[in-house]
């Protein structure tokens, strides 16, 4: 059954973990997403870029149902996203998300931020959850901050805590929604380093970012969006040197000139 499914759903050898088919979304009269088709293989790293308001964030927020799409199909890890609450919760616990504004829980020390979901969703005993949390804090290189409150940390540290918090749920997929856009320039590197390490470990990732250096380093696939559409989806070597679409060319010339 497992074999049948994977050979049926993918021409390539890897199994698809995310599939968007003809996804459309409207905010009132404004169409935010236009016929989005995208598929992500296990361990694939996709970097999404595009001008602001192009629908990048909306698209990845649809993948864990923070936004509701109105037409089309989204299948994550074999589960289709419908309004079935159990499916939504199952998908959310497999999909980690890191936000531009960190969204740590300000009223809990860092360690509690990390253990809350494993304890409540994964039913993990406190001791195990704390061990797991310390393990991930070490991985993002701030174990010494475990008992501080988020407000006592720098932006870069907070974002690394947020990444660790998502990892504590041991997700199969990580979504990053402009993770470095709210950071001071000197803190961007420490966050990107953590993300590069995560990519090297084989995490399936979709990253919305304007950090083109990072994109060149980690991306398997570059996606360019404009006006709610996927304009171009290509291999990074082709994407950065010889994009097909003039809109992609214009965008790249605008962000790579300085």
């Amino acid at each position: 059954m497992e074999n049948l499914k994977s050979s049926a759903s993918s021409q390539k050898h890897e199994r698809l973990v995310i599939e968007l088919t003809g996804v459309n979304k409207w905010y009132g009269d404004f169409q935010a997403l236009v016929d989005i088709n995208m598929s992500v293989r296990r361990s694939e790293r996709v970097v999404v870029c595009g001008p602001s308001g192009s629908g990048k964030s909306t698209m990845i927020r649809c993948i864990n149902r923070l936004e509701v799409h109105q037409r089309g199909r989204i299948v994550v890890d074999g589960i289709e996203l419908t309004d079935n609450l159990k499916n939504i919760e199952a998908i959310r616990s497999e999909v980690g998300m890191v936000f531009q504004s960190f969204n740590l829980f300000p009223h809990m020390p860092v360690i509690d931020n990390l253990t809350l979901a494993p304890m409540l969703v994964r039913k993990m005993p406190k001791k195990d959850a704390e061990e797991l949390a310390m393990q991930y804090l070490e991985r993002v290189q701030i174990p010494e901050q475990a008992f501080k409150y988020p407000g006592q940390l720098s932006g870069g540290q907070q974002q690394r805590v947020a990444i660790a918090r998502s990892l504590c749920m041991q997700p199969k997929i990580m979504l990053f929604d402009e993770p470095t856009s709210a950071l001071d320039p000197e803190m961007i590197k420490e966050v990107l380093d953590v993300m590069i390490e995560l990519a090297e470990d084989g995490m399936t990732m979709i990253v919305v970012t304007h950090e083109m250096g990072f994109a060149k380093t980690v991306a398997d696939t570059m996606v360019f969006m404009d006006a709610g559409e996927i304009v171009e989806s290509a291999d990074p070597s082709k994407f950065f040197t010889a994009p097909d679409n003039p809109r992609t060319k214009l965008f790249l010339s605008q962000i790579l000139t300085h």
């Binding site: 504004s101 979901a117 005993p125 406190k126």
Partner: protein, 392 residues
């Protein structure tokens, strides 16, 4: 003049020292307040002397000579002013504390209803809030008082269920006749509350150690209700109702709530409840949307998000202004004077008229309200410290 030519200039005059000025301004303020206090005291004394009014607290030990319509402690007109003041304080406390309890329940319910995604529920709550907080509290109290006066006479009283009567003389309810077993039932209730608290601690301990989440609500409720019920049943389930019965012009027996009490209670509760609802709503809405999104992205259920993320953060916003609402409800209970509820102000005013001891009567009223308010403040500050969570 020659010195000023030399930079840097250093002005050593004490008049320009910040420390000196701070002390000087405070001393001036103390002097001004002392003068004002002396002036008022002197003025009052002079005027009282001129009108031949004796000052002092002696009148408190004299018989009051007037009766009151309801009192928690037994009272008749031959008893002293001190006792009638005590009766007034108790009546004020009675209506204020029941009012605070009900207004809090109403406010929390309506506040949560207002942010509900259910259109009808949220509109009903909005209508309640907008109507009730925009009408002066005096009108609320008079409105309910008039409504009750329009109810039928005791002889044609409405009887919603057997033994309960609603009339323009208030609400009469049957009440169990005291039994030797009841103190034990009360004791079992206390034990049950203690047991439920222990159960909640155990459930938390177990959740942290095994990851198993146990809902506390139903088992906790069962313990609190079940234990007294068990004691009562084992004791032979003694229950005799004392039914109110029409004797003469009014009902006797059972328990009764006077029309004045009901009108005042509903008036101040409904008014303050609307403000508390707004405070609760603003508390919930003060939570940044990202907090909820981050919790959802982690797979947390709605109930968990409410309990672990929204409520702890909302409480800090909710508690301080709610404390002010409790204080204003307590002070608004003095509107009882308008509809004949014998609260402290009502009794204070009557005593003042009877004795002419205006300064003393008003001083007593002010002191009592000050004491009640400060007590509530201290308690709420303490509670605020409990919920004022650290962030750094």
């Amino acid at each position: 003049m020659a010195e000023q030519a030399h930079p840097p200039k250093n002005n050593r005059s004490i008049l320009h020292s910040i420390a000196f000025r701070n002390i000087a301004y405070q001393l001036l303020l103390v002097a001004a307040l002392a003068f004002l206090g002396w002036y008022l005291y002197d003025n009052i004394n002079e005027n009282l002397d001129r009108q031949n009014i004796a000052t002092g607290w002696g009148f408190l030990n004299e018989p009051a000579g007037f009766d009151i319509s309801e009192s928690i402690i037994p009272f008749d007109s031959s008893q002293t002013f001190a006792r009638i003041f005590a009766a007034g304080v108790l009546n004020t406390l009675h209506v204020a504390f029941v009012g605070i309890f009900l207004a809090t329940l109403l406010g929390i319910t309506m506040g949560i209803a207002r942010v509900s995604r259910n259109w009808l529920v949220s509109k009903v709550a909005s209508a309640y809030v907008e109507i009730c907080r925009n009408v002066p509290v005096v009108l609320h109290v008079i409105f309910w008082s008039s409504i009750i006066r329009l109810l039928p006479h005791p002889r044609q009283a409405l009887e919603p269920f057997n033994g309960a009567f609603i009339s323009n003389r208030g609400l009469m309810l049957p009440f169990p006749v005291d039994n030797i077993l009841y103190p034990w039932v009360a004791f079992a209730l206390v034990l049950g509350i203690g047991g439920a608290l222990i159960f909640a601690r155990w459930a938390r301990f177990r959740r942290e150690h095994t990851g198993q989440y146990i809902s506390v609500f139903w088992p906790g409720t069962s313990i609190i209700v079940g234990l007294p019920l068990l004691v009562w049943v084992l004791g032979g389930a003694p229950l005799t109702w004392d039914y109110p019965a029409l004797k003469g012009f009014n009902y006797q027996g059972g328990i009764s709530l006077s029309p004045e009490y009901i009108a005042l209670l509903i008036g101040i509760t409904v008014y303050t409840g609307a403000f508390i609802a707004e405070i609760v709503r603003s508390g919930i809405e003060s939570i940044h949307r990202g907090q909820i999104e981050a919790s959802r992205a982690l797979g947390l259920r709605h109930g968990f998000i409410m309990r672990f993320i929204i409520i702890p953060q909302a409480l800090r916003v909710i508690v301080p202004p709610t404390a002010s609402q409790f204080l204003s409800l307590t002070k608004n209970s003095s509107l009882g004077v308008l509809i004949g509820y014998p609260d402290l102000v009502n009794i204070g005013n009557t005593s003042l008229n009877q004795t002419g001891q205006a300064v003393e009567a008003i001083a007593i009223m002010m002191l009592v309200y000050l004491t009640i308010s400060l007590t509530i403040s201290i308690f709420m500050n303490f509670y605020n410290k409990l919920v004022a969570i650290r962030e750094r």
